[in-house]
């Protein structure tokens, strides 16, 4: 088995309870298939609201997907009963953006870290030993174990959250914007820590972020998400050096400071007012038939009739190379 995670056609619909009857619901994740290699690191990039976190919650079965299958190390999670699923949960952990809300303010960090272990009926001596090891590993002195979250800085809290995730000895970790809330000088400390831990424990990462700089540094494969779909996927270097989807190009061109402008170009005309662009988006939205058009069409500088009548699918664009590069894109105009 080469892949730790294999997702196929994951769809997640959140059903709203609208006034006067059920609404059709909101499709947060719209048919994502991807696989994550063992000990690999997959970066998921996209803007707020594109479904990154919903997708992560789906593959962890925190919010089971509405349809689609997830193979975890060859086992289909959807086919498991609750008890069996619990066994797998232990192997998958998630670290959220805001350590303040991830730690219970009324529990000392030792108690917070013990919770999972107690649940798993780990004997006390082992618990203490493991907590001690992990805290020291993430750079928090064990003598602080009886302190409460408010006594730590943001960076320290994030270290504690990471250590807590590791108490379960996971092999898969989802990192959901793990450094966005931290000061610039602290971010690098946490990123280096995550790199070290990955090596030490042979972890597989899924890294969720809006920051392409960070993801291209951390991950070997990047998937770009737009409106619940992956629009482009490629090895990091390739995605950054030769982005193909107009949305990816726009994202790369938007990185402030121009560090990665080389392969990217912003196809939108900066002189156009937002009003004009919004009007175009609006009129194009009306042209679109439900579910058929490319979701990026309203914003796309390249779109035409073909994009309205059929949604592009994610396809390989290796162009006849002997060794497949793994570059996939979902666009008619590439």
């Amino acid at each position: 088995m080469d892949n730790l995670i294999e997702c196929k056609d994951i769809v997640k619909i959140y059903r709203g309870r609208g006034i006067g009857g059920a609404s059709r619901g909101f499709k947060a994740v719209d048919g994502i298939s991807l696989s994550i290699k063992k000990i690999g690191s997959y970066g998921l990039v996209g803007e707020s609201g594109c479904g990154k976190t919903s997708f992560a919650r789906s593959i962890l079965y925190l919010d089971p997907p509405s349809s689609g299958t997830i193979l975890y190390d060859g086992t289909e999670l959807g086919a498991l009963n609750r008890k069996e699923l619990r066994g797998f949960r232990k192997r998958m952990q998630i670290v959220f953006q805001d350590p303040n809300s991830a730690l219970n303010p009324k529990m000392s960090i030792h108690d917070s870290m013990s919770e999972g272990l107690i649940n798993r009926k780990v004997p006390e001596a082992d618990r203490v030993k493991r907590i001690k090891e992990l805290l020291e590993l993430v750079g928090i002195s064990y003598s602080y174990r009886n302190r409460y979250p408010h006594e730590f800085s943001g960076g320290q809290k994030q270290r504690i959250v990471i250590a807590r995730a590791l108490t379960m000895e996971p092999d898969f970790m989802v990192l959901d914007e793990p450094v966005s809330n931290l000061d610039v000088s602290i971010q690098a400390q946490i990123i280096n820590l995550l790199t070290d831990l990955k090596k030490e424990f042979s972890l597989t990462y899924m890294f969720i972020s809006h920051d392409l700089n960070l993801v291209s540094y951390m991950c070997d494969t990047i998937g770009v998400m737009f409106k619940g779909r992956i629009v482009e996927e490629a090895p990091s270097e390739l995605l950054v050096s030769s982005p193909r989807h107009p949305y990816t190009r726009r994202l790369l061109a938007s990185i402030p400071g121009g560090a990665q402008r080389s392969g990217a170009e912003d196809l939108t005309d900066e002189e156009e007012s937002v009003e004009t662009l919004a009007a175009r988006a609006n009129s194009r939205q009306k042209e679109m038939q439900a579910g058929k058009a490319c979701p990026y069409y309203p914003f796309c500088p390249l779109g035409d009739g073909e994009c309205v009548s059929s949604a592009p699918v994610l396809r390989d664009i290796d162009g006849g190379h002997v060794v497949p590069s793994g570059h996939k894109v979902s666009c008619h105009k590439v």
């Binding site: 690098a188 700089n213 560090a259 912003d266 937002v274 009003e275």
Partner: protein, 330 residues
Amino acid sequence: MMAENKELLKVENLGVCFTHGAMEAHALRGIDLSFYREEIHGLVGESGSGKTVTSTCIIGLLPSPPGKYTSGRILFDGVDLLALSQAEMRSYRGRKIAMVFQEPSKYLNPAFKIGEQITEMLKLHLNMNKEQARERAKELLGLVGLGKDGRVLDSYPHELSGGMKQRAMIAIAISCNPQFLIADEPTTALDVTLQLQILRLIKKLKDLLGMGVLFISHDLGVVKEVADRVSVIYAGRIVESSTKGRLFDNPLHPYTKLLMASIPDARKRGQRLATIPGRVPDADATPSGCAFHPRCPLADERCRTENPQLKEQENGHQTACHHAGESWTI
């Protein structure tokens, strides 16, 4: 030099202290900054370094108590803003000095239409009547890219997207043709693609209206994108200040160097990121001597006891470091 003539606002040796009972937090410990017309001056620093306190002092909104000035002046066109009465300051705030904040949804009044919020300024400061104000508000919306037909005038804030709200905020800020604009993390709450649009807009308006701009951010990339001049603030003091080109090409202060080296990007893949050990000191426990010395790879005895002054090194490139320009292996 020409630049001298254009000087618009000058912060001199500004010190601010917050008191809570017996605790004294020296948020600013002698800040010097110069702002020029038609120039964006980026102020970069981490949370708690004093960026926002600096801006609240300039616009005269320092909460007092608990805050109080311990030293310094803020000269605007030759007038010391700190010596003005509240009433006098009101004729500057909004009129000559305006501000754009991080979260537009927090600063726009949800109960009033965008048009009403712009015309309020025009009526108050420029004594316009209703029709004049509405015409001008329409123009302003066109200027910030919200369309010339004035549809947005009759929208409520909740009907606009995040990026449009920030544009509306900017329209309010520039409504009275201010000479000086403070933008405090104006794009931090926005997605990257919107961020770039707003940065371009601020640059365009700066040229169009000839404003001096103080642009506050924690993000070096954003500052690199937008600023003409950059100052780096650490623990309530400016540690380095220069034109953008010089600062990014040849940073002299170890803090600036480390900050730049610690930002990940694709080209650093496989390498370890440089880190700054420890964390930003709290304002009530600023280290002795150079505040950066506990985290600095170059620190020696002198740094522990003697606070370095901001000195010109070359061509207007200023830095406050006893070891300015010395190199070490990151």
